[in-house]
């Protein structure tokens, strides 16, 4: 037992000595949460729009005014020809062009031209424009009568009334950071000992291999849990995110995820000999799928079926579901036992695989 403690102590020193990595490890979660919270949003607003006004009448001016007054559009240029419009599109200066032909109001000839290289932005902007135009036209109708048979929809946005995107991102960022610290760092730390040859030294020592591994990964568990706390604190204090469920459950589940990620990291290190390979492998096989297939940024249900199936073997997917359920919906174990079981199963599988693959002799 004491020898285990010594190994842990050694690893802690290794980590603490490396100021740069440490700084990044704690700087990264803060930076990412702040970026996601303040800078990155999926909402589309303030799109640059060019106006080609051939009518120059009272209506075209009023409508232009109204478009620009909305938060969705920013006036970019008055242009005179479609060629000019094309040039602006090609320089990436505008997202939308609006053409008022002569006599557009009477002939219903208004044209919207959208840059559809980004289909979502294009659809959204066209919808905004149409709504504003419809609004304007309705205001021009002199008769104001309440239309009969009016359906009102009472809308409730559950769990996130303001539709803040940070609610979506915090669970994702947490997952990525934990994955990075637990899986990537441990796999690198272990292969590093192999690459530098110090693993041989440890293995010929009287320590049992299990203790060596345990001692090496234990500090990363602690690091990960500190990061979890840090991210939760930030999201509650800065972004007023609620933690509706049990905090204990949240930490318990985080610990389970961290252990799963560690087991994965150990597994990777048993299969690789150089840090570079371990890194590239972690990056391509762990990080990118975690970011892209876990439902963090892109909705899983929109993906093609094969990818949806792949997403099931990504631990992060289940962890993200759990965090959202506990944090935002405030549900308990009764709702998330399936996900928890799946993660526990993954943890077991990766642990067994690493034990089977663990080689006491390094160079054969």
């Amino acid at each position: 037992m004491r020898s285990l403690f010594h190994i842990i102590q050694k690893e802690v020193w290794h980590i603490l000595r490396d100021r740069r990595t440490l700084l990044i490890l704690f700087g990264m979660p803060i930076m990412q949460i702040l970026l996601f919270g303040f800078a990155i949003t999926n909402e589309i607003k303030e799109a640059d729009v060019a106006i080609l006004d051939r009518a120059h009448d009272e209506h075209s001016h009023a409508l232009t005014e109204r478009l620009i007054a909305s938060e969705y559009f920013i006036f970019a240029a008055n242009i005179r020809s479609e060629q000019e419009l094309e040039n602006l599109f090609q320089q990436g200066d505008i997202k939308l062009g609006i053409i008022f032909p002569k006599d557009w109001f009477a002939s219903a000839g208004l044209q919207i031209i959208a840059d559809a290289t980004d289909p979502n932005t294009a659809t959204t902007l066209v919808n905004y424009t149409q709504a504003i135009v419809a609004d304007y036209l309705r205001d021009q109708q002199t008769v104001t009568q309440v239309p009969p048979r009016q359906i009102h929809t009472e809308l409730r946005m559950l769990y996130n009334q303001e539709l803040a995107s940070v609610f979506m991102f915090v669970p994702g960022v947490m997952t990525i950071i934990l994955m990075l610290v637990s899986a990537m760092m441990t796999s690198i730390a272990l292969t590093r000992e192999k690459e530098l040859g110090t693993m041989e030294v440890l293995l010929v020592s009287p320590l049992r291999p299990v203790f060596i591994i345990l001692g090496k990964v234990a500090p990363y568990v602690i690091l990960s849990m500190i990061n979890t706390a840090l991210i939760l604190l930030l999201s509650v204090w800065v972004f007023a995110m609620p933690i509706r469920g049990s905090l204990l459950l949240l930490f318990g589940e985080s610990l389970l995820f961290v252990l799963t990620a560690l087991a994965l990291g150990i597994f990777i290190s048993t299969r690789t000999d150089s840090q570079q390979v371990a890194m590239l492998f972690s990056l391509m096989v762990l990080m990118l799928p975690t970011i892209l297939l876990s439902g963090f940024i892109f909705p899983i249900e929109s993906m093609p079926l094969p990818l949806q199936m792949i997403s099931n073997i990504i631990p992060a997917k289940w962890f993200i579901i759990i965090i959202k359920d506990v944090m935002l919906k405030g549900v308990g174990m009764a709702y998330i036992w399936e996900e928890t079981l799946i993660m526990a199963g993954m943890f077991l599988i990766f642990t067994l695989l690493s034990i089977r693959n663990f080689n006491i002799r390094l160079s054969s």
Binding site: D18, R20, T21, I24, M28, Q32, L35, A39, T41, N42, E43, I44, E46, N87, F89, Q90, Q91, G92, A108, G109, I112, A114, A116, T117, D118, P119, T123, V126, N127, T129, A134, P147, P148, R149, Q150, I151, H152, T153, E154, Y159, N160, L163, A164, M168, R192, Q275, Q276, V277, L283, M284, L288, L292, I297, F298, P299, S302, P304, D325, K329, V331
Partner: protein, 366 residues
């Protein structure tokens, strides 16, 4: 010149000796491209809908029929009470629940107005917003329909055209951006790690005591990855054209020209990081740190225009943002070099500054 050739030979031998690295460099990107392009899809469809029909009349059934017929919603389940609907949302069995209260039809006909309740799981704000607008559109249509014949208020809507991507193909938008991502990964990580590895293992000492000059060493280190990344871009473009039939409207020469410039900047960043780190672990984490910021702020996944002003100012210092912008402009819209002159200028300036900083920082010591 001869020294550089020897160094290049050494680097290429070292790179290609390691099978895993070769696979990572050439095979993984293709797989990544195929997976990413399919995964990175913001389109929201297949929203799972449950309807609580407490009215059970012609109108309520008609309305449900409208929802069932739309492409956006999958009608899965008709819970008996509003409470059960809420539980379904909590269990993630439904994205939204439409509640048609008792007396819906009667109220419409008798009082001229009736209410519906729509509950949406809003944890994913974008999805909830879209779900709401789709649902509202269907309800509006239905409302028009049951009104028709009563008042003849017809209203015209402006016509619209979608330029450059009339089929609204999402691959067309994402694939060029993903290529940037893959090229950047190779350029930034491999170059930086490579030098730090020599430091860590100690072989850099041997190079330091040899008559190789600083600039020769750096060129010998960077040139292989510069070439590899360009080859990778070519492979990726070919795969994108073959599999996703992304349009190549503009000049390929311009794309590669800009990529060459961009890679100088990215490799410069890798080089700079290698001068301030001692171990591969450090280099990797610092690269990762900046890469994540660069990618998130690049406009690849989320539009730059939506960012607040201060964030938009930061993206002006982000090389990835320029390349994402340029590759889309040239490939999809056919912009010529004149249209992207500012981006080229900025990228050239960036490359010069970062490489100069790296060279100044690089000491010929261990």
């Amino acid at each position: 010149m001869k020294t550089i050739l020897f160094l290049l030979r050494k680097e290429f031998l070292q790179i290609f000796r390691n099978r895993v690295i070769v696979v990572m460099i050439f095979v993984m990107p293709i797989i990544q491209l195929l997976i990413l392009a399919n995964a990175a899809d913001y389109e929201v469809r297949n929203l799972v809908l449950q309807v609580v029909d407490q009215d059970q009349t012609t109108y309520s059934r008609q309305l449900i029929g409208h929802f069932a017929a739309s492409n956006y919603f999958l009608l899965e389940g008709m819970p008996a009470s509003a409470k059960k609907g809420t539980v379904a949302i909590a269990r993630d069995e439904a994205d939204l629940v439409l509640d048609i209260p008792n007396g819906f039809e009667r109220n419409l006909l008798r009082d001229g107005a009736a209410a519906l309740h729509l509950n949406i799981n809003a944890i994913n704000g974008v999805k909830a917003g879209l779900a709401n607008s789709y649902a509202q559109a269907i309800i509006r249509d239905f409302n028009q329909e049951i009104r028709s014949g009563i008042v003849g208020t017809t209203q015209w809507l402006p016509s619209y055209r979608y330029w450059y991507n009339p089929e609204m193909d999402y691959y067309t938008f994402m694939v060029p951006g993903i290529l940037v991502l893959l090229v950047t990964l190779v350029g930034m990580f491999l170059s930086g790690l490579n030098i730090v590895k020599e430091k860590e293992i100690g072989t850099i000492e041997q190079i330091n005591v040899s008559p190789i000059r600083k600039s020769q060493f750096v060129i010998g280190k960077l040139l292989p990855f510069w070439l590899i990344a360009l080859v990778e871009l070519a492979i990726g473009l070919f795969a994108g054209w073959l599999v996703f039939s992304i349009p190549i409207v503009g000049s390929l020469g311009l794309v590669f020209g800009f990529a060459a410039l961009y890679l100088l900047a990215v490799l410069g960043i890798g080089l700079f990081i290698s001068t301030i780190t001692e171990t591969q672990q450090q280099a990797m984490f610092i690269s990762w740190f900046f890469l994540v910021i660069f990618i998130l702020m690049s406009g690849l996944f989320t539009p730059i225009e939506s960012m607040p002003d201060w964030a938009r100012a930061i993206t002006r210092l982000n090389p990835v943002a320029y390349f994402v912008d340029v590759i889309r402009l040239v490939l999809l819209k056919g912009s010529d070099w004149w249209a992207i002159r500012w981006q080229m200028l900025a990228m050239g300036g960036f490359a010069i500054v970062i490489n100069a900083a790296a060279m100044l920082n690089y000491r010929k010591r261990g």
